[in-house]
């Protein structure tokens, strides 16, 4: 079974969804149970996959994958086909945590829909399962075309989930979501084909899309840096909208506000990660030069998004929109860390994907629980709920804290690592001899998010939980069998997320060790890019470069034990390049010295 574990894991929800859709005799209650059962079974498979992954971890080094499967769809040996669709799957250290995240959240989202979804249950749960399988497929795909197929197919279930079970403006939201993301990914599609064509030179003239071949392209000099620039742009179009990176984020608040709870949860927790995942496993290793040319721009947009999203979140009255804007802000971190060319930043970035999924997913779940009771998310209409719903209040505070990066909870670790990586980005080290693309100002501005994040999240928590009790007329709606405070089912949904938050906050080492072997090659590839070729004149002249010069201890005419003046000035020049890359910072540091 382990030979086909991943395909079974992906196929199971598909088949389950189909069964749920086709079996018209099932009562709504049965539909719920069957879907939950299928989802849980899939999650168990994901866990089994993790067990296998753990056992075969040694294979991860050098871009290796675990549980690899590779079938060519419908291709005979004498294939004269234009393109061979390869169904090739595998898990590496980046996809494993995301698969686990998906496998954790989707069953919970299904469970959370039990009381909220009252119409057309069969279709609803079928779509949820379909979405589940597709998301797993994206993360397991080891072939660009397969990745793209799954990536794009996620649109369909969510389109219906928003469009049918959404709020009052659901049509607008679903349409905007679908068309906007699809427009971007059509350009990505063009990019995919271009890459495939380029890779045909390595694959005997047949278009090839498997990750292993594609990663050779740049290395073998088959993609010029201009081509990589354009290819990055093409993939950027799809991924940046998906992430969403400022200023392509406007579909997100709308989609979140209108989506049903489970839709929001999945959207925030997993679907947005498809974009960041794409950047990480496709853009960076396959177009390293493109990535490095774009890194400063992505960085600026990410920082802008962090601040923009945070400030926009602060003025929201709708809780869901507030959290949606917070996602814009948070995913800015994710991208900022990704391109900093430091292991800490990249690890933090992947961890951020998981953590954002947990905490924001949980926040959306809680908001959904409130909404089911009061049918409003307007903070002017609900307030002081802590009095009536202490358990809910506990969880809301808990996940708020997780979201604003309180140490001990998951958000902090990733936020800290991302910002640390960004901060030290410019410094040269063994991996990146030229240093990373960011000056310290990226981190300095980005870090303002930790302040702004606290402001808007606590603003929300204060209004919803604290102060005078405000409820809509008639109190809470108990028609669905809900109690005033959270029911046991709802607590059961939130507890696993809370446990995961604590675990990742206190002891994330296993997850980091899982990621590292797979991040290493990506980092190495990107770090090898010579950024001076495209006019990055601020390249670091690091201590390393200095170190390569004859050191005083080796010099013949210098006695051991004293620096010459020349050494000192050289070192100083090096330092000013390394550390305070922005001229203003350099100047201010000189002033400080003068003052002393």
């Amino acid at each position: 079974m382990t030979n086909h574990l991943l395909s079974i894991m992906i196929a199971l929800p598909f088949l389950g969804g189909l069964a749920v859709f086709a079996l018209s005799g099932l009562s709504p209650d049965m539909v719920r149970r069957v879907s939950l059962g299928v989802a849980l079974l899939t999650a168990v498979l994901a866990l089994v996959a993790y067990g296998e992954f753990d056992a075969q971890r040694a294979q991860l080094s050098n871009n290796g994958v675990v549980l690899a499967e590779d079938y060519a769809l419908d291709a005979a040996a004498d294939s004269g086909l234009p393109v061979i669709l390869r169904f090739s799957l595998g898990l590496n250290g980046i996809s494993m945590p995301l698969v686990l995240l998906t496998a954790l959240l989707t069953p919970l989202a299904i469970l959370a829909s039990f009381t909220g979804i009252k119409t057309r249950e069969r279709e609803y749960y079928a779509l949820m399962l379909l979405l589940f399988g597709t998301m797993l497929g994206v993360f397991c795909a080891r072939d660009l075309l397969l990745f793209y197929v799954f990536f794009e197919f996620t649109l369909i279930p969510l389109y219906f989930l928003i469009g049918v079970w959404g709020g009052s403006e659901r049509r607008k939201a679903a349409n905007m979501f679908f068309i906007y993301t699809l427009s971007g990914s059509m350009l990505t599609f063009a990019g995919v084909l271009y890459v495939g064509w380029k890779a045909s030179q390595l694959a005997g003239g047949v278009m090839a899309f498997d990750f292993a071949t594609l990663s050779q392209l740049a290395e073998q000099g088959l993609l010029s840096s201009t081509e990589q620039w354009w290819l990055f742009l093409a993939f950027f179009a799809g991924f940046a909208i998906k992430v969403p990176l400022f200023p392509f984020h406007t579909w997100l608040p709308l989609a979140h506000v209108e989506a049903p709870t489970a839709g929001s949860v999945i959207l925030a927790a997993v679907l947005l990660k498809l974009g960041t995942y794409g950047f990480l496993v496709i853009c960076m290793p396959f177009f390293p030069a493109g990535a490095m040319q774009w890194a400063p721009i992505v960085g600026v947009l990410a920082v802008a998004g962090i601040i923009y999203g945070a400030l926009a979140a602060w003025v929201q009255e709708d809780v869901k929109r507030l959290v949606a804007y917070s996602s814009v802000s948070h995913l800015g971190y994710c991208l900022l860390g990704m391109f900093c060319l430091k292991m800490s930043g990249m690890t933090g970035s992947v961890l951020y994907m998981v953590n954002h999924g947990l905490s924001t997913g949980a926040l959306f779940l809680i908001i959904g629980m409130i909404y089911e009771r009061y049918h409003t998310r307007d903070m002017a209409k609900i307030g002081g709920l802590a009095r009536k719903m202490p358990i809910m209040a506990f969880f809301l505070i808990f996940f708020t804290m997780s979201s604003i990066g309180l140490p001990g909870l998951n958000g902090f670790v990733s936020e800290f690592m991302v910002l640390l990586g960004t901060f030290i980005s410019r410094q040269a080290d063994d991996v990146a001899a030229q240093g990373g693309p960011y000056g310290i100002w990226y981190a300095a501005f980005g870090a303002s998010g930790i302040l702004l994040g606290a402001i808007y999240m606590l603003f929300m928590a204060r209004r919803v939980l604290f102060g005078k009790l405000t409820e809509p007329e008639g109190g809470f709606d108990d028609s669905a069998g809900l109690t005033q405070d959270l029911t046991r089912r709802e607590i059961g949904i939130l507890v696993p997320l809370a446990v995961a938050c604590i675990w990742l906050g206190v002891y994330p080492k296993p997850v980091m060790e899982m990621m590292e072997p797979s991040l290493q090659p990506i980092l190495a590839t990107v770090a090898k890019v010579d950024r001076s070729q495209f006019g990055d004149d601020r390249q670091a002249a690091p201590g390393r470069a200095v170190a390569e010069a004859p050191s005083p201890s080796q010099g013949e005419d210098r006695g051991e034990g004293s620096f010459s003046v020349a050494d000192k000035s050289k070192a100083r020049a090096a330092i000013e390049h390394v550390a305070l890359t922005d001229s203003s910072a350099a100047a201010s540091s000189r002033n400080k010295k003068g003052a002393r």
Binding site: T250, Y308, S344, F423, R462, K568, A571, I575, A579
Partner: protein, 707 residues
């Protein structure tokens, strides 16, 4: 050492376990017995603290002796014996964050003399306050307040966080504790969440702290950028090394750096020299950024605004967190990083100035307030100002000393205020009651003693510590700070006794609705008395016997300072260690006089001639309203930061909806526009279609045959 370390781990864990258990089962099963778990946890933790501290004292004594020998033989202090370094070494609990290539940021603790002092402040006082809360969080009939178990869970959480903060072995863990105490503070201030002011104050505290933490975090990253590590000792020793460097001692420096940071980081002399220059360049930035965090946590100007509002929390919280322990974390930070600060004259100047300014500023505000807890809060600000003043002039041990004495009398004052409040049914405005001396005898006595201590009355706790600070300031290169300190001392004595006079002296007066004023129960009075004892005697650990004169046989700089000496040795080394005499007898006379003068004035103004204050207030013109309204800082912040930022937020949200989305709308409707234009060609007439076809064909022909 091993037992020391394994014991140290339990210091934070025990309160945490108590807290988690209470949180999990308190509401349903423990109910009004919830306190037992936390008290038990803290008590055990206290035992662990005592054991740890005794070990440290023992170790320190041995190390001191070895050091002594070493110094005699002229060996460099930085790399002497193993004994000396054992206490400064941090020990790793587990690896936390991966920095790539198998280097990790660890969760590590460090137990040294400074930690011991802090633990001795935090845990015992915490224990007393937990006990006090058992009485306080109940009504007169002994029924617990709503959220009783929650309160104890939070207190336990706080003690966990605070002990993590002081036990931290590197900057990362320090930051963790730093943020966690912020969380506990947030939760406890917002304990009465139904009160909008409490909710608001909680949020304000958290956010203002985050402002400081923003700088703090940047400082930590800058440290990592410079040193490639966050471990305290490596950082401090590197700074010390870099400051020692004078261009001639290259081989030793290279060897030392390699020993400290590893050969990967410092492969050769060039790298070492680069590192030295880096450190020299950035040390000021690092110090200032770290100080940002300290300003936030210790509520120094201009980030002081949250502390007075934090008094919305239950009084034990104010005593524990917002007077005795958490707010001193900033002082602890600077003291801990004394080497870094000492290496930067700018930073030292800045710290001292901010401290002095806050001390004076807060004292002036305290003169005009009527809310007992707020007066105490401003007083806390002011005393913290003293501590920073001390740090700024290089008197690190004096600052820690003051921190230590302050914890006792300020906690006692707060708890006394809480006892008053408890008796007055929650009223805390000193204009509403008076003359409580008789009804609340224990509260009055303990309060009075602590007030004397705060005022700097001779031979009580603050007398020694404050004097030391002023003395150090006057002796240093910024004597102005010393004069400010003296002025503040006067104000302190005055406003403290203004409060005492209005609340306890004079004719008896009770707020409306309160029939009798009851003295509080045992749970509350015992801690009060214990703390009052501390307020009297705590100062004596910092006093040494001298052979001069009458008073002079007691002089500052005693056991306490010797104990701490190793911690601040390298900082003092950098500062040039002006071993001035500690015998500022003249100053001791003067400050005693000032304290007594202030107390006497307050007594005169508020018991003998109660009309005078009003007259002065009237006569002062705009000054009184300015002080009464706390210099309008809140309003200014609101106008300068909050409102503009919200406007920007609204603008952003608007530009999303009307800017970006409109643009998208336009782009999205380009096909529609195009289709609308093309549709004019679709008029349904076949001849029109034929015309279109012919024109198109001609255009095609023309296009191709032309080119």
């Amino acid at each position: 050492m091993e037992t020391l370390r394994s014991t140290a781990i339990w210091i934070p864990l025990l309160p945490l376990i108590g807290s988690l258990l209470v949180g999990a089962i308190g509401l349903r099963w423990l109910k009004d017995r919830s306190h037992w778990l936390v008290i038990g946890g803290v008590a055990l933790s206290l035992v662990a603290v005592l054991s740890v501290v005794s070990t440290v004292v023992g170790e320190a004594g041995r190390a001191h002796n070895v050091d002594h020998v070493a110094q005699h033989e002229g060996v460099d202090v930085a790399h002497t014996s193993d004994h000396a370094s054992k206490l400064t070494e941090s020990f790793t609990l587990y690896q936390w964050m991966s920095m790539g290539s198998d280097s990790w940021l660890n969760v590590s603790f460090r137990v040294d003399q400074l930690t011991s002092v802090m633990l001795l402040v935090v845990v015992p006082i915490g224990f007393l306050i937990v006990c006090y809360s058992v009485g306080y969080m109940r009504d007169h009939h002994g029924h617990p307040e709503r959220g009783y178990e929650r309160f104890f869970a939070f207190l336990g959480l706080f003690l966990f966080s605070m002990t993590v903060l002081v036990l931290a072995g590197n900057f990362l863990v320090l930051f963790v504790g730093w943020e966690l105490v912020g969380l506990s503070s947030f939760l406890l201030i917002g304990f009465y969440y139904q009160k909008p002011e409490a909710a608001k104050a909680a949020r304000k505290a958290f956010i203002v702290n985050r402002v400081g933490d923003f700088g703090f975090a940047l400082g930590i990253w800058l440290i990592y950028l410079t040193f490639g590590t966050l471990d305290y000792q490596k950082v401090f020793d590197s700074v010390a090394l870099a400051m020692q460097y004078d261009g001639d001692t290259y081989p030793a420096i290279l060897r030392d750096f390699q020993a400290l940071l590893g050969t990967d980081r410092v492969p050769d002399a060039t790298a070492a020299s680069a590192l030295v220059l880096n450190i020299q360049d950035r040390i000021t930035w690092i110090a200032l950024l770290l100080f940002c965090g300290a300003m936030g946590k210790s509520a120094q100007l201009p980030l002081h605004v949250w502390l007075p509002d934090a008094m919305e929390g239950p009084t034990p919280v104010s005593a524990l967190i917002h007077a005795a322990t958490m707010v001193t974390a900033g002082v602890y930070l600077v003291a801990r990083c004394s080497v870094i600060f000492a290496a930067s004259p700018v930073a030292m100047w800045f710290v001292g100035s901010i401290g002095a300014a806050t001390a004076l500023f807060a004292a002036t505000i305290a003169l005009t307030q009527y809310d007992m807890k707020r007066i105490l809060a401003y007083s806390t600000l002011s005393q913290l100002g003293y501590m920073f003043l001390a740090l700024g002039v290089g008197a690190f041990d004096s600052a820690v000393f003051h921190l230590y004495t302050h914890a006792f009398f300020k906690a006692c004052l707060f708890l006394g205020a809480g006892s008053v409040m408890h008796a007055m049914d929650g009223v805390i405005d000193i204009t509403k009651f008076g003359g409580l001396k008789k009804d609340l005898p224990i509260t009055y006595r303990t309060f009075f003693v602590s007030a004397l201590a705060l005022a700097g009355f001779p031979f009580l706790a603050a007398f020694w510590s404050k004097d030391e600070i002023i003395h150090a300031a006057l002796a240093g290169n910024m004597p102005l700070l010393g004069w400010i300190g003296l002025l503040t001392a006067l104000l302190t004595a005055f406003y403290t006794f203004r409060m005492v006079a209005m609340a306890f002296w004079g004719p008896k007066m009770l707020p409306a609705g309160v029939e009798h004023a009851h003295e509080s129960g045992r749970w509350m009075t015992v801690p009060l008395m214990l703390l009052a004892v501390g307020a009297v005697f705590a100062g004596y650990v910092g006093v040494t016997f001298s052979d001069h004169g009458f008073i002079g046989f007691l002089a500052p700089h005693g056991v306490f300072h010797h104990f701490l000496d190793p911690v601040f040795a390298s900082a003092k080394g950098i500062l040039g260690a002006h071993e001035a005499s500690h015998e500022g007898y003249a100053l001791m006379y003067w400050s005693s006089a000032i304290a007594i003068f202030g107390i006497a004035n307050a007594w005169y103004f508020y018991t003998k001639r109660p009309t005078i204050p009003g007259a002065i207030a009237l006569a002062s013109g705009p000054i009184y309203p300015l002080l009464k309204n706390k210099y309008y800082v809140d309003e200014i912040y609101d106008a300068i930061f909050v409102q503009p930022l919200r406007k920007v937020g609204r603008f952003f949200f608007g530009s999303d909806r009307y800017g970006i989305n409109s643009l998208l709308f336009i782009i999205g409707n380009l096909p529609r526009v195009l289709g609308f234009g093309l549709r004019t060609g679709q008029q349904g007439a076949m001849q029109g279609y034929a015309l279109g076809m012919i024109l198109g064909l001609v255009a095609l022909l023309w296009f191709v045959l032309q080119g």
